[in-house]
């Protein structure tokens, strides 16, 4: 009766030379929410993939309710009552909720799909757990937070008793996160066991009963959450003291370098634009940070300024009007751009470092002479960037993909800074980058600003925006809803604005007005509870530093072997 719901003993998993899991023990009691913490590459995803049958351990055993089990496929784990919501979504956008939920376990009548029974079963689950969606909704039309609920429905439909959620909040707003936590607490009270994989301290303290911390594939700490301090968790996770909350001194802004007026980008669905009448300016020697929950138009805003998306409105760099120009002309007019998606947009992973670094410099001297590219000059150019920005690579001929996430980012950063363009657009500069490299990247950005360049920074990590920016703009649903100078940038007020708590159209107003109005507005409307949650979420944003785990080696490897069919 007191057997733990899940017991992993001595799990070892190797990927080539990398030891992803090094004799990991994990015990999870029935009906508890157990947080599994760790930085990128600590081995969390690998461990959960093993439990879910996507990977086979090199050594170690798994027991459910005291019974030893061996999973050679996800299907076996599902049959044993384990369900997993993986990072990112595993949903079919073109299909309705009900098809997504029953997929792989379809009810039939005389051999045909029994849609009526399926809809009834899904409706019942939706009602029982108080979810806000209809079974016939097309998944592609649902907001992100609701899609997360569809994922959970899938598990409940399969009668999963053990739910694994891998970084479920990465794409959620604070309010959606709290909604998710309510659902999870409810499920745990109902006798389900929840394993929550996360690297965010505040989530651990907000929702979990027990916490286990992994570092470099080993368990460094485990115990009840209530008896564990945040500092203790942080040092168990990082193994060192890193000053992540460093706030850099303000810059000395000069003339306006980038001016955006009335920029509007059409959205996916007809009606609501992705970027809605945004006006902003960035001065030379200034970093303007854009805060906001992912998916509120930041990506589209930068893409439109860079010329990658069609937009209405005006963009000027210096005196030059850019609207109507293509990417190349805009770059020539003085734009450089470090994009969010390193692997697909910012670089060619299969090509040599030399070629990646030469791109954009290949139509002018010194790389080009008398109409021909000089391979010697290309190599020197690459070596100079590698040296100057401390990119760790086997050599300039190494393919980009052989570099770690942090070094790829340093290479792209180096290439773009080398343009010495008056205006730099930077998106998520430290996402998926090791903590050690974060400070270096921040220092480079500050130095670039101090050299008299204008920087527009978009980041999902509030601490990053707060540390670097001279001015903070908040985007919500495609609009700039609040603006704060560095001295008045308060995480609490910014968090409220990110959650949509700022009154509309205050972009031009003073910071105090908007912050005060925002706080008052939400407190009045939603009560103090929600405001607290938001404050918690943003106040501890610094622990999110490790960011998204897209570049995480073990995670990648796990995905590869799991989805081998692709």
């Amino acid at each position: 009766m007191t057997q733990p719901a899940v017991q992993l003993t001595g799990i070892v998993k190797r990927f080539g030379e990398l030891l992803a899991n090094d004799h990991v023990d994990l015990t999870v009691a029935r009906g508890e929410i157990h947080a599994l913490m760790g930085e990128n590459g600590a081995g969390k995803s690998t461990l959960m993939s093993i439990l879910y049958g996507l990977l086979r351990p090199d050594a170690g055993t798994i027991a459910l309710d005291g019974e030893p089990v061996v999973f050679d496929s996800a299907a076996r784990a599902i049959a044993a009552g384990i369900g997993m919501v993986q990072q990112g979504f595993a949903l079919f956008d073109s299909m309705p909720v009900v098809d997504n939920v029953i997929y792989g376990a379809e009810p039939t009548r005389r051999g045909l799909l029994d849609r009526r029974a399926a809809t009834a079963a899904v409706s019942e689950l939706v009602e029982r757990h108080g979810l806000r969606l209809a079974p016939t909704d097309r998944v592609g039309d649902l907001p992100i937070g609701v899609r997360q609920q569809v994922e959970i429905l899938k598990l409940l439909y399969r009668r999963a008793r053990v739910l694994i959620l891998d970084e479920p909040t990465a794409v959620l707003t604070p309010a959606e996160t709290e909604q998710l936590f309510t659902v999870l607490r409810d499920l745990a009270a109902d006798g389900h066991t929840v394993l929550l994989v996360t690297h965010k301290l505040h989530e651990v303290t907000a929702v979990s009963d027990t916490v286990t911390v992994l570092r470099d594939g080993k368990v460094t700490m485990t115990g009840p959450t209530s008896a564990t301090g945040r500092a203790e968790l942080a040092s168990a996770m990082t193994g060192r003291e890193v000053d992540l909350d460093r706030v850099y001194p303000a810059g000395q802004p000069g003339a306006e370098a980038l001016t955006v007026t009335g920029l509007t980008v059409d959205g996916r669905a007809a009606g609501r634009p992705a970027v809605d009448d945004v006006s902003l300016s960035v001065r030379a020697g200034e970093i303007v940070g854009i805060a906001g929950v992912a998916g509120n138009g930041q990506t589209e805003l930068v893409a439109a300024i860079a010329g990658l998306l069609p937009a209405r409105g005006s963009v000027t760099v210096g005196e030059r009007e850019l609207s109507g120009l293509g990417v190349a002309r805009r770059r020539a007019a003085g734009l450089a751009h470090i994009p969010e998606d390193r692997a697909e947009v910012g670089a060619a992973p299969g090509a040599r470092l030399t070629d990646n670094l030469a791109t954009g410099f290949h139509r002018r001297p010194p790389l080009l002479r008398k109409g021909f590219l000089r391979s010697g000059a290309m190599r020197t150019h690459a070596e100079r960037i590698i040296e100057r920005f401390g990119v760790r690579a086997p050599g300039p001929s190494a393919p980009m993909r052989t570099l770690s996430g942090g070094n790829q980012q340093k290479a792209i950063l180096g290439r773009e800074l080398t343009h010495e363009a008056p205006v730099l657009l930077v998106e998520q500069p430290t996402r998926g980058v090791d903590i050690g490299a974060v400070v270096g990247i921040h220092t480079e950005l500050i130095a670039y600003r101090d050299a008299g360049h204008a920087v527009l920074l978009v980041s999902a990590e509030l601490s990053e925006v707060l540390g670097l920016a001279d001015r903070v703009l908040v985007m919500y649903e495609g609009r700039v809803v609040a603006e704060f100078p560095k001295t008045e940038a308060d995480p609490h007020a910014i968090g409220l604005a990110m959650a949509g708590g700022a009154p509309r159209g205050v972009a031009g107003g003073t910071a105090e007005d908007s912050a005060g109005g925002a706080a008052g507005g939400v407190a009045g409307a939603a009560g103090g509870d929600e405001a607290d949650v938001v404050g918690d979420a943003t106040g501890h944003a610094s622990e999110n530093m490790a960011g998204d785990t897209a570049g995480d080696t073990t995670g990648d490897a796990a995905e590869d072997s799991g989805g081998g069919a692709a």
Binding site: V327, A351, D355, L373
Partner: protein
């Protein structure tokens, strides 16, 4: 790591070739022929003192088409309409050559072939960039009307009056490419060698070639870097079709100095060329080597048929089998690498 990869690559090619040879031997034995004798006939037929000329004669159109199709492939664009561009180039060259006399006619015919193929491929590119129909489809679909047009022209307006075959009149002696051998090998060989050389230099050493490669590495990276995709597509397709048209012109300006319906299609120059380009990932030298290899195999096949009565189509089978093995094993390599 890199050296290991290269070794594994070489090993893979070796295994694929060996597997194709074994399969070929089994097929040969099944027809009652002596596999060793047949293999000997293929080798001497391909590289022997007489055979080498046939190999070169066949290699001119195959290598030309392979290079033509490699040009857009470098940027990840597949031109499936090589046949139409080839035929259109050929018929245009004949049309001009029959009406413009003298050495000027020869040059005009070559230029006309290039223009016809180039413009036609450019039209396919515009259908993608302006009208949004995938290039793969526009090139393929435009290919058939071009072949039909040529078939119509040599049956009616341009027909050789003295013959019952669907073929054009013969070009006058001064509108012919000087022959290097009696089997149709002409100085067109040098034109193709020059085209391959130009492609190699442009690919490796010029901004335009660099931008094509960047586009091939990743279309979104290329767009981000400011490379204008529609313009790149148009340029590459125009070059591709232009070279295909030139190949067509070179073929009809050699023996038998006329356009014969189907003569450019039946030997499968285009598809073999495309496969050579695909296998070599459009690298200029690799494409040339693969094309030469396939040409040798084909001309060896003719010799084999003469000496052993085994149908020459067997070599076409061998070619395809070899390609299938190569594609499969390189896929395996790719899969291993991404998992490691």
């Amino acid at each position: 790591m890199n050296r290991l990869g290269r070794w594994r690559g070489a090993l893979t090619v070796g295994v694929a070739v060996a597997a194709a040879l074994v399969l070929g031997a089994i097929l040969l034995a099944a027809t009652g022929a002596n596999p060793l004798e047949a293999a000997g006939a293929i080798v001497t037929g391909a590289f022997g003192p007489d055979g080498i000329q046939d190999t070169l004669a066949y290699a001119v159109p195959v290598a030309g088409m392979a290079t033509a199709l490699a040009i857009p492939l470098r940027a990840g664009l597949v031109n499936l309409g090589g046949e139409g561009q080839l035929v259109l180039g050929a018929i245009s060259a004949v049309a001009v050559g029959l009406h413009v006399p003298g050495p000027l006619g020869l040059v005009a015919a070559l230029v006309a072939g290039m223009l016809a193929g180039g413009l036609y491929a450019a039209a396919a590119a515009l259908c993608e960039t302006r009208l949004g129909v995938p290039l793969l489809v526009t090139t393929l679909l435009l290919s058939y009307p071009a072949m039909s047009l040529a078939a119509y022209l040599v049956r009616f307006p341009m027909r050789d009056q003295g013959s019952s075959l669907p073929q054009s009149a013969q070009l006058p002696p001064d509108v012919r490419l000087p022959a290097l051998a009696g089997n149709g090998l002409t100085v067109g060989l040098f034109l193709i060698v020059a085209a391959v050389a130009v492609y190699a230099v442009v690919d490796a050493r010029t901004p335009a070639g660099f931008e094509a490669r960047v586009t091939g590495w990743g279309p979104r990276f290329a767009q981000y870097a400011g490379i204008d995709r529609p313009r790149t597509t148009l340029r590459l397709l125009a070059c591709s079709g232009g070279l295909a048209g030139l190949v067509g012109a070179i073929v009809v300006l050699g023996f038998p100095y006329r356009f014969i319906d189907g003569a450019l299609i039946t030997p499968q120059y285009t598809w073999i060329g495309l496969l050579a380009a695909l296998l070599a990932a459009a690298s200029p030298l690799g494409t040339l080597v693969a094309a030469l290899f396939f040409a040798a195999l084909t001309s060896g096949g003719f010799a084999m048929e003469r000496e052993t009565q085994v149908p020459r189509e067997l070599t076409a089978v061998l070619q395809a089998v070899l390609i299938i093995f190569l594609a499969a094993t390189t896929g395996l390599l790719r899969r291993r690498r991404s998992a490691a």
